[in-house]
Homo-oligomer: 389 residues x 2
């Protein structure tokens, strides 16, 4: 293992073994993976180079043994420093054959006619390769049937190891220290766009490797949505400011937010903040192995509905780890059972009578006994920043 | 158009019209798009929310008129502030039907049996939706034939408007100011991981919205690869330090690097740096409308080969804009003709006798007369940082 690996080879071997047990249950000869988080999870292959959409990358997990990498030559030095030993590469980009025949050859070697080949095809997945190349690959692999493995991956990756939980906790703590310092940067005349820049700087100063996700808002008495880019108006008294981050350290995300009121706060916003806090408190107290995700959703939904003029819509949390958002979704349709090692966000939102909304989010891990906070617990009362003039 | 739009509606209308002209040439009734850069390009829809892989997003460009958005409800408020008026949404995630039947209904409304439906299927593209949902969509849309539009998108998006070129130039200037300040942060005892954090902070301070990509290296007399994550060893005398960034402002990338030598520098590194500088100089002088990308490649390759102990491998540059890397690739197989408005990186690399490599990268735009630098021109001589003890 090279100097850049986050975990020892044992961690990756254990992940592969657990996955291979689930694969055996579904009679799979191999699994084909193409995405950044799957390369990170099984190979320990970390790079920001996924930002370039030019080259496809392939990782094959056979029924037994270590994964085989079929990758562009530019990735060979880095892949050679992971625990993966069987690395096959081509000089990409190749307009005539961008790894497809090399991949087909490798899959023919690792599987036999009649075998089932696993590919993530279900929700929250996508195939990171050109569709035409995928179709050509299928033509080059006659007599292998494709089988959706998104369920297998959800189950295996959803149950984090103690090393993974420690990594997520560390990222949450980094964000916690940055959130604590927000009063340093949320000053008179700052625009939301500038606040975004300064908050990213705080996250880096506190130890984030990379700020992959940042959202937020600053509007009078609540906000209209939570995914818009930052505006260029100075933040003013009466604004409710929200910052929500997915910072990354060693490949693991946090995902939680904090709210502040500037100068003054309406009773409606104060009350909404308390209700959201109490909703996360109630969910935290209820969360334990055996409870289903939909049960947790209903507990939160019941609490929120009592105070919401509008019906509750959208999910109230989700999984978290090597992706900003992972399965499960806290919705009525998700019957996943909570198990120890599952990392979740609790993310209740409330639309107030004014039509504006407020969102509060925390990160937890399911333990044998119940749940632990991964994000340093936010305050029940919305903090009011007094700006001296 | 809302406050968050980067360009006026006219810019997006013109993009759609140009694309629709190319679509008419291929007899297409509509085009289906699923990716972040395509949403940005045609709808002016900007958000960092693409970091969440949970929800699929669909944009349909009909043969005439404005695009139609079929999107998760969480995106409606933001999409309503773009120039897009026909917005259809569902409450995602929906485990039974995550937008697929709504998308099929919309496509049935916008196309007729026998029509050709465009989808990006070729190189440098991927379909950002679950494969199983794509197959279900095809079943729900009988009698429409699929047609690869990656060539159409390459041509249209490859020729940037003056507004786009100005945006890329601005991002390049932001990175230029950050690179100028590197001596402030590249100090004794700093590790490469810490340098990465500090450099991201400089980029934000100088005006980047977001540091989507950062690569670099710090090794004795050159480096072994250019995509590895940062190491945690203190940088020491004799190291060659490289930083390569894809910062973003208003959705447009820069992508170029700079090198520094610490304390001392070998004649081999000095010479390699000069050769790389001269290779970009030669390429810049040659670049003009009508020259083919492969010609530009051969000009660079010829120059480099004279000094390289190893054969030149990999590409020597690429397109740049709403993606860190876009078509074309500067390789022998790319016969694309240069046209005014094309933005390129010139990225020659040289493997020295030691086996270590050096990379130099600049960003240019093709003009009527030749080429313009978008990145502030780097130095011919590698700067040597003297660290006082």
């Amino acid at each position: 293992m090279g100097e850049t690996a986050v975990f020892g080879a044992g961690e990756y071997e254990a992940r592969c073994r657990r996955t291979q047990e689930a694969m055996a249950g579904e009679g799979l000869a191999a699994m084909l993976l193409t995405s950044e988080p799957d390369f990170q999870y099984f190979a320990g292959f970390f790079t920001r180079f996924w930002e370039s959409p030019t080259r496809p990358w392939f990782l094959i997990l056979p029924a037994t043994g270590a994964p085989v990498a079929v990758i562009p030559g530019i990735g060979t030095p880095l892949m050679s420093r992971t625990w993966i030993e069987d690395i096959r590469s081509w000089d990409a980009p190749d307009y005539d054959d961008d790894g497809v025949s090399l991949l087909a050859d490798t899959l023919r070697e690792l599987t036999r006619p009649g075998d089932r080949l696993g590919v993530p095809m279900g929700r929250e997945t996508s195939l990171r390769m050109p569709l035409a190349d995928w179709e050509r690959l299928c033509d080059l692999l006659p007599k292998r049937t494709r089988h959706d493995v998104s369920g297998v991956l959800r189950e295996v990756q959803g149950q984090k190891s103690s090393a993974e939980i420690a990594a997520i906790r560390r990222t949450c703590q980094i964000a916690g220290r940055a959130f604590d310092r927000v009063p340093e940067i949320l000053r008179p005349e700052v625009t939301l766009a500038e606040l975004f820049r300064r908050f990213q700087t705080l996250l880096l100063e506190e130890g984030a490797d990379w700020v992959r996700y940042l959202a937020g808002a600053a509007e009078q008495s609540g906000y209209a949505d939570v995914i818009s880019p930052a505006h260029h108006r100075p933040i003013v008294a009466g604004d409710v400011v929200m910052l929500d981050t997915g910072a990354v350290r060693d490949g693991y995300f946090c995902d939680y937010d904090r709210n502040w009121a500037i100068g003054t706060v309406t009773p409606q916003v104060q009350e909404a903040h308390q209700i959201l806090f109490e909703t996360t408190e109630t969910a935290f107290d209820a969360a334990r192995p055996g409870l289903r995700v939909c049960d947790l959703y209903h507990i939160m939904e019941t609490k929120l509905s009592r105070h919401s003029p509008a019906p509750i819509s959208g999910r109230l949390g989700h999984g978290l780890g090597i992706r900003l958002t992972e399965p499960p979704s806290l919705i009525a349709a998700d019957t996943t059972e909570l198990v120890p090692g599952m990392v979740l966000t609790l993310e209740p939102s409330l639309t107030m009578g004014s039509g504006k909304m407020l969102v509060h989010e925390e990160n937890i891990v399911i333990t044998e006994e119940g749940a632990d906070w991964l994000s340093p617990r936010g305050p029940r009362e919305i903090p009011v920043l007094e700006w001296a003039r």
